[in-house]
């Protein structure tokens, strides 16, 4: 019974509460009450979907990673925009990317990053979490794409999740 009254993920609850205060027009009695309810209900409902607590040791590396991804998003948009406007037909490819990461949360961060950056969308992950299927809009060669992703995203993520 007391399980139901607790906050299983205090950080998630805190983030939800803070987000709600920012989204509502100024902090008031009502927004605090509703924020508390949301901070309690949402973790209770989504509890089963979260992977086991990650071994997220080096959280301080995250801002560097986010800045790099933001930079890459801007560069990527220019290259995709250029590709759309140029008369050349792109050479799309499906690429199987061998994963070295094994934590589910790390894999989903990598997959989201791939979807947001240079000419690639992650399409699927294999059932054993070993391979990621990537669709590339304009791939030179499979190995090139795999190396680029490994060096710029998977390596920093591996260091964070060790």
């Amino acid at each position: 019974m007391f399980d139901r009254l607790s906050f299983p993920q205090p950080w998630l609850s805190l983030i939800l509460f803070a987000t709600w205060q920012i989204l509502s027009d100024g902090v008031s009695g009502g927004s605090v009450v509703l924020g508390l309810i949301l901070a309690w209900v949402i973790p209770q409902i989504t509890h089963g979907f979260w992977p086991e607590r990650p071994a997220f040791v080096k959280t301080w590396r995250m801002p560097v990673y986010i800045l790099r991804v933001l930079k890459d998003i801007i560069v990527a948009s220019f290259s995709v925009a250029w590709l759309i406007l140029s008369p050349r037909t792109p050479r799309p490819a499906f690429i199987s990317y061998p994963l070295t990461l094994d934590h589910p949360l790390a894999i989903s961060i990598l997959a989201s990053t791939i979807s947001l950056t240079p000419g690639t969308v992650s399409a699927d992950v294999s059932d054993d979490n070993q391979t990621l299927l990537i669709h590339a809009l304009d791939a030179g060669s499979d190995q090139e794409v795999i190396d680029a992703i490994y060096n710029s995203y998977e390596k920093p993520l591996m260091e964070m999740f060790k």
Binding site: I22, A81, I84, T89, A93, F94, L116, H135
Partner: protein, 110 residues
């Protein structure tokens, strides 16, 4: 509002509008479903990001709010765009959407 803020807002709006337009052109011009997935996740993200940024500048220049809600909208957009692209790709593979000729590799059987 200072002229500098006005120029910055206009430039960002034009920039964002241009990128969103290019994303839309991409939908019409790219050859198959999978390549069209690339438009909304990238070009549009930057387009909307630039428009949000101009909104942040506008409201700070008007001295109302610092516009944290716009930044939150951008963050939500960045968090949801990959998920929707992933679901679209999975659904397309599930019903066996054809790839354009010249595509290397194959989608997985679902």
């Amino acid at each position: 509002m200072s002229p500098f803020a006005e120029y910055a807002i206009s430039a960002l709006l034009l920039f964002g509008g241009a990128f969103t337009l290019i994303g839309a052109i991409g939908l019409a011009r790219l050859p198959d479903f999978y390549t069209r997935l690339h438009g909304p996740t990238k070009a549009t993200t930057v387009g909307v990001g630039a428009i949000m940024l101009s909104s942040v500048i506008y409201f700070s220049a008007m001295g109302e709010d610092i516009g944290i809600s716009e930044i939150l909208i951008t963050v939500f957009l960045l968090m949801t765009a990959p998920v929707s692209a992933n679901m679209l790709a999975k659904a397309a593979m599930h019903i066996g959407v054809k790839t354009v000729e010249g595509t290397d590799g194959k989608p997985w059987e679902q």
